[in-house]
């Protein structure tokens, strides 16, 4: 067989030896390619998550770090105490439940607005001529070149009582006293929608730009007016883009901290802020960890729901 002839020529390449050595341990190139992201996820996601889970199950204490170890060994016996009290408190204290519900509400409403604003923009970009398309996409991405924090601060300048919007409205004579906008939920919505709009537009754009124009022509040819064509053809075919965009807005919006702290008022209860307070103001690391872990669950569930919806769409095609 030719296999016997191969090894004679093979060692010329330096990596052949390495490959053969790896193969001896049962590793192929494919396994290594998969191993790299797996290693990354393990190091920077699974292990930290494990640490968070461990802290959430321990007892708070005034120490450095401010919690007691889970496993104690005393007189030859190893003892592990799991404190579920933090998780129980999540359900007992209304603050946490309210914060979760409010976060979901704010994230959901922001996602809907981002979709309503982003869809027409994405549609317009996808339908514009090649020359303009890149310019328009650039304009969508351009704000990312400046600091996120700076952009949120800029909104304070717009929304505050003597800010740009109120000053303008008073100048036109439409209002005589400033409309309170800063430190309200409204400001938080504005901030989230503004910040995450590109994440809605880009996946929608990539979906809509692939839409075969002859399908729209076929629909018109069969007697459908433009609105009917949009509802029956464009919209159903863009569902994957809608799902992807909504996920990219909804998930980070749930845990958003900077925007509610800078633009929201004291009444804007969001889980990111509660988490921050538990961690830095109360120095209750176990409680903060329990909150973080619960938030993860809150985020993972909608991801899974959306993903299954998306795969359903894909298989339906």
């Amino acid at each position: 067989m030719t296999a016997t002839a191969l090894p004679a020529a093979a060692p010329r390449r330096p990596w052949t030896l390495l490959r053969r050595w790896l193969a001896a341990v049962g590793l192929s190139g494919r396994a290594l390619v998969i191993a790299a992201p797996a290693l990354w996820l393990t190091l920077f996601f699974l292990i930290p998550l494990g640490i968070v889970l461990q802290v959430s199950l321990s007892e708070s204490a005034i120490a450095i770090p401010p919690y007691l170890p889970l496993i104690t060994s005393e007189l030859g016996t190893v003892q592990m105490t799991l404190h579920l009290s933090n998780f129980i408190r999540l359900f007992q204290d209304k603050l946490y439940i309210l914060a979760y519900l409010n976060s979901i509400k704010i994230a959901a409403i922001s996602t809907i607005f981002a979709l309503l604003i982003g869809y027409p923009i994405a549609y317009f970009i996808a339908r514009s001529s090649d020359r303009w398309r890149n310019v328009l996409l650039m304009l969508i991405i351009l704000p990312f070149w400046s600091s996120f924090l700076l952009r949120v601060y800029a909104w304070i300048g717009f929304l505050k009582n003597e800010g740009v919007i109120n000053n303008f409205l008073e100048w036109t004579g439409l209002i005589h006293a400033p409309i309170p906008m800063i430190q309200t939920d409204f400001a938080v919505y504005v901030g989230i929608v503004y910040t995450y709009l590109p994440f809605m537009i880009l996946p929608l754009y990539t979906n809509l730009v692939k839409l075969d124009e002859s399908l729209l022509e076929a629909s018109a040819d069969l007697g459908a007016r433009p609105i009917r064509t949009f509802l029956s053809i464009t919209l159903p075919l863009s569902i994957p883009g809608i799902v992807a965009g909504s996920m990219l807005v909804f998930i980070p919006a749930i845990g958003e901290f900077v925007i509610p702290s800078l633009l929201g008022g004291p009444g804007t209860l969001m889980i990111g802020r509660v988490l921050f307070d538990e961690f830095f103001s109360n120095r209750d690391w176990p409680m903060a960890s329990a909150l973080a872990f619960a938030m993860l669950l809150v985020v993972v569930v909608p991801i899974m729901v959306m993903q299954s919806a998306q795969s359903a769409v894909v298989t339906r095609k």
Binding site: A220, L222, R316, K317
Partner: protein, 386 residues
Amino acid sequence: MAKKPQIAADTRPWREPGAKPFVRIRNVTKKFGDIAAVNDVSLDIYKGELFCLLGGSGSGKSTLLRMLAGFEEPTAGTIEIDGQNMAGVPPYRRPVNMMFQSYALFPHMTVEQNVAYGLKRDRLPPAELAARVTELLQLVKLQDYRTRKPNQLSGGQRQRVALARALAKRPKLLLLDEPLGALDKKLREETQFELVKIQETLGVTFIVVTHDQEEAMSLATRIGVMNQGEIAMIGEPTEIYEYPNSRFVANFIGSANMFEGVVTEDEPDHVRIRSADLGSDIYVDHGVDCAPDQILWWAIRPEKIRLTRDKPAAESGIPADANVLKGFVEDIAYLGDMTVYQVRLENGKYMRVTKANALRGDPDAISWDESVWASWAGSSGSVLVS
């Protein structure tokens, strides 16, 4: 099956001067920027016709079709369908349906939903709608595939769904953009006949765009040959093939041997052309609208030339020194049904001659490197002045 309607192929309305056209295209021009995709085209198409627009890529045939469907507005000129001016009428209000080159089937809908799409827009009652869809799926033999999605169908099946969907609203005029282009050769030949049968059964007027001359020849009642945005010739398939009006048409449809020549005799009943290009005189047994000493071209189809080993006797009426030529068989392509001979003439030019292989494994067939005589009848070639 319904009674076979009287179709255009039987009545040939285009031969009657007073017949009223169903589609009337008048001086239509379409410019994209400075480039005229369609340039001053006028065309009449009659009810029940299967009209083929034939042309290469960029000839403007698809643009003309898109203007009929309403996807493009003419820059100048008018389009009338069934006596109605179509200027400014959007696609969804035209009595026209189109079958797209890519089929443009809706990927998220089943076969049934695709076919029913146009009917739903007409707000047909559900029972009637279901009956119509069933009828259409039977017509294209896809009853068993109702709930399939387009990506679960073969190319031929998709083509039939597209046809059923385009026919669903019983349009007066059906536009077909390269309807068979995506099918393989065998399937294409079968589908051609099916398409003609459906067209004759339903009595719908078809306008078919194609770049495939064989397809156009076998489908069409009439063909409009397009070249660079203009109509080069309109005629029945036999007219287009046997009596091309220009060098472009003669070359585009089938293959032709083309030679330049000068008129030496211009009589009402015959013309004699001296052609250095060919190396012989050409005797044409009918009058031609030309002047003495005019330069013109003479085209002859490869199958209209006879090849013989011995010099053939002159035909009656043809001078002995015309319409016969010595040559040398340089190459042969055996195609099964016929053989193509590449004959080198004495002046170094080549002539293509085909011969049907009527005899099975003919041992006496003309072979490589043989000296032969090529001859033709006085009416075999076309005299072209442009």
